[in-house]
Amino acid sequence: MSDQSNKHSNTNALALDFLEDAPIPLLQTDDKGIIKRANQAALVLLQRDNATILGQNIAQFFARTAQSEQALALLQADSILKEFAAVFKTSDSSLRYVIIDGNSSISSSLSTAAGGENQASDKQFNFFVRDITESWLKQSQSNAQFDITKVLIGSTAIVDALEQICSTLCTLLKFDIGIVWRIDERANRMARLVHKVIGETSKHEYLIARSVNVPLSVAAGFPASIWFNGKGRVYTDMEQYETCFNEPASRMTKSYPAVAAFPICIGNRIWGVISLLSTSAAPISDELVATLESIGYQIGNFVDRIEANEAYLKSQERYYVAITGSNDGIWDWDLVTNEVFYSPRYKSQLGFEESELANHFDTFRTLCHPEDYQQVMDKVQKHIDTKQAYEAEMRLRTKSGDYKWICARGQAIWNSQGRAIRMAGSHRDITELKAAEITRHEYEKRLLESESMFRQLAENIREVFWIISARTDEFIYASPAFEELWLEGCDQLYKNKEVFFNAIIAEDRPRIRRALQGLVLASERQDSQRQDGQGFELEFRIETKENEIRWIWARIFPVLDKSGACERLYGIAHDITEKKEVERRVSEFYSTVSHELRTPLTSIRAALGLIEGGITGEIGPETMEYVSIARDNSDRLIRLINDILDIRRLEANKLEMKIENIAPQELIEKTIDSLRAFAEEQGVAITFVNKTQGRDIIGDKDRLVQVLTNLISNALKYTPRGKSVAIIASNHDVNVKISVIDQGPGIAEEHLQGLFGLFQQLSCVENEVNTGSGLGLAISKALVEKLGGIIGAESKVGDGAIFWIEIPSLETLENQLESGAIKADEPNRENNFTTDEQTRGGEDHCDPPLVLLMEDSDSIALILKTLITRKGYACMRAANIAEARLLAEGQRPALLFADINLPDGNGLDFVNWLHEKYADDPIPVIVLSGSEANIGRVLHPQLVDWIKKPFANDEILHLLNSRTSKKTSENISKDTAIKNQS
């Protein structure tokens, strides 16, 4: 051996031999770290011989470069190494933990020993090395075991504990990353539960990505091999194993030169695998493997204990669910075994005895309606996957074979791997709810079907057609024609119904709004008088974006649901601007014609009158006769014009009637007085007999005078000079009949029929007395009928004629009121409407709105009561303030009609009293008076309308409708605002 010969040939042989044989490894280097000498112990430590060590730099035997640099730097600075901890690398790449003491000394004979080379410096460094690997490993193993035990005792959750364990093991045993996999034999994989990195994570990205799910097969290599062998293992050169993470191991070996892995065992079962990996070579030994294996068993025990506890908690949870959901059926489904616990209530809900249903999932599968099963299972899967709440509706077959609707709710329980292992929940019987829902669905479906038909129709007509949902008060459909008329998109309308209203001119808008809210149906009918079938008609104006005013005619009809509530409001509308324009022109034409004819006639009549009156000087009798003829005919022409205009007004329904009670005596006497001059002229006497015994008639005084004038003047014209015309007023049933009896030539029966038609000339009678316009009787008939009366004629040729009218009296009204013959005009529609509105208001829909009528005159009270009752309202009448107070205290009226002059005081005082009494919800009032001078006397002028006597029916009814509609509440809020300001 060459070193032996060196030893003996050296002058310092003794000392050198001592060092050579010393049990402490010694390395001598020059000041650059080049090894000059290594003793036997050092060669053993590093597993080298002199040939492979001398002349090498000592740095390459350090496992970590930083340590070698630090050590050399210290010595080069003439310092010493005192218990310097370092890791040495042996030739087989295993690591030795060492403590180094070092110094520098002056070289003596070392240069010759090193082969006679010249030294740049005679300094040499001495390294005295102590190998502490074994003791360090023992120490850290015992530390690890101690720390692991501490972690496991303090933990209740598996994952948390495993993270701490990885962290502890890596720190103590100098590894960089720890990974725990859970064995999932069923899925044939190892699922990573935990990975814990000490230091920088970015270095381990590849490993972290690869290690999530690892195939559980021997061929996959590491780490499945641990599960397969059931033993712990350390790897210092993984390359000898063919695969790692199902790939060639080379990549792993480069990154992780040291790897330790061991199983977590519960008895014989391998629950999981822990692997520790180091990016540098870590000191590992067989003892370490044994220690790690024992730690693996320790963790196994812990896992077993925690899982048992979790199972106990799950059963507790089931118990809890069962208790809280006691009215519902309870189910608890073991997703692993498919066993299901069905509570007794679950079974009885479906009509089964406890023993009749097996506690297995198949029970549910067979009971569930085939159409519902898949949907339910999808929801279960979704719940398991996403952990979102589970709720499903399904039909379950009962024992009798029927199906019950069940609402199921439930909650899965996931194990620590995130796997759902059981699911428990409740079943509630929702059969009744569902039945109602299905009925509604079917109804809505049918409604939609019919609506779609409507739509098809609507798309193709020029009229605007729309549908409003009564529930949401929104337009849900409008036909394309809407866009043409409104110049706004249907989409805009659906978004905002105000698009519809904004186009309507301000004057008409509130009326239409109310109408569409279904609140003024009756008033609209009254306005238009053209209603038929259900619904009502409206006319209003819209202003388009181009500032063009258009007249719109609309018909609106409600669609009721089964319960009678309004579901939809359908509307159809079209542009009647042209029609309106024609109407306006016609009206204007009549006005113009009337004016243009009258103007020349005025001059003609005035001139003739002047001549006839002798103002222009004396004229001869013959001239006078002709002037009279001219004057007569101009008078006739004037009457004709007046009659034509009357007829036109009647036909256009523009004649206003002012209803009051009239004494027949005065009425007839007044008419006779106005005709006395004419009668004298005709040489005919007029007699009048009144047999009405004080019975009053109800009507429009001026119009009745007009009718009687027509009848009497006719009679006077046809009665020969010297004879007389008799007028008889008598009671006929409850009406008053006025007959005008002439002694004229009489009328043939065939002519009696058409007598009251337009332009009926009695051509059979002599022409010289035929001076009528031919319109008089037609006008009379229309007027009488408008007043609720009838007109007739009886005659025989040669025996004179009787023209009579029958006019309703107060008794007529009283009779009708008592017998109930006076009812709402259209009871059905009125009631539908009222029902709908009042149901929304939360009131009892059986009661019509109550009107309090305070009026001392019996006749006026009666007329009003008739009007009010006829409109579908209930009416209570008070003859004075005291009575009114009693009535109003008993029951809150919806509206007050008040007279001002009452026997016991001023009606306005009562109005104020009533407003104070019902201050929270003030009552609208209509005051009947001669003037509006007292307007300042009332507390809430906004709530009071004033009507002058005599009043027009239409006016009263219009107010009645608008005041009992929603307008009231608007006014109240306005009123309150005003009060607050003041």
């Binding site: 103007t599 006639l601 005025t602 005035a606 009158g609």
Partner: protein, 138 residues
């Protein structure tokens, strides 16, 4: 009613002549005429008639506008005004009811009865009672 003076406002010359004749012949009233509301206003700058008879439809300024203007002229408020018009349809008559006038006489009229109708309307009228109903003489 001696020295009673009337202003007749009408665009129709025939009618001006006829009414003047009637009132001068039957009542011995002094009648001045104007053919429009404008002319009436200029007449009233210098004259204070006891009565104004006013047509409604006239060019330049119609009767209703003229009435409003006349009521603004100093010392003219108390002059009774009677409309003599062929515009006597319902809606037109309703319009007249709110005017500060003594009454309406509809055209055509019986000339022999005209003075009586006018006198009756003047008697019923009082300049302060503005709320009273406008009397209509047909």
């Amino acid at each position: 009613m001696e020295n009673f003076s009337v202003l007749l406002v009408d665009d129709n010359a025939d009618l001006r002549k006829l009414v003047s004749k009637i009132l001068t012949a039957l009542c011995q009233w002094r009648v001045d005429t104007a053919d429009s509301g404008i002319e009436a206003l200029s007449y009233l700058q210098e004259h204070r008639p006891d009565l104004i008879l006013m047509d409604v439809s006239m060019p330049q300024m119609d009767g209703l506008t003229a009435i409003g203007e006349i009521k603004k002229v100093k010392n003219c408020r108390a002059i009774p005004i009677i409309l003599i018009t062929a515009r006597v349809q319902n809606h037109e008559m309703n319009q007249y009811r709110s005017l500060p006038i003594a009454g309406v006489i509809s055209k055509p009229f019986d000339p022999m009865k005209l003075p009586g109708q006018i006198k009756k309307l003047i008697e019923q009228w009082s300049p302060s009672g503005e709320n009273q109903r406008v009397a209509i003489s047909e």
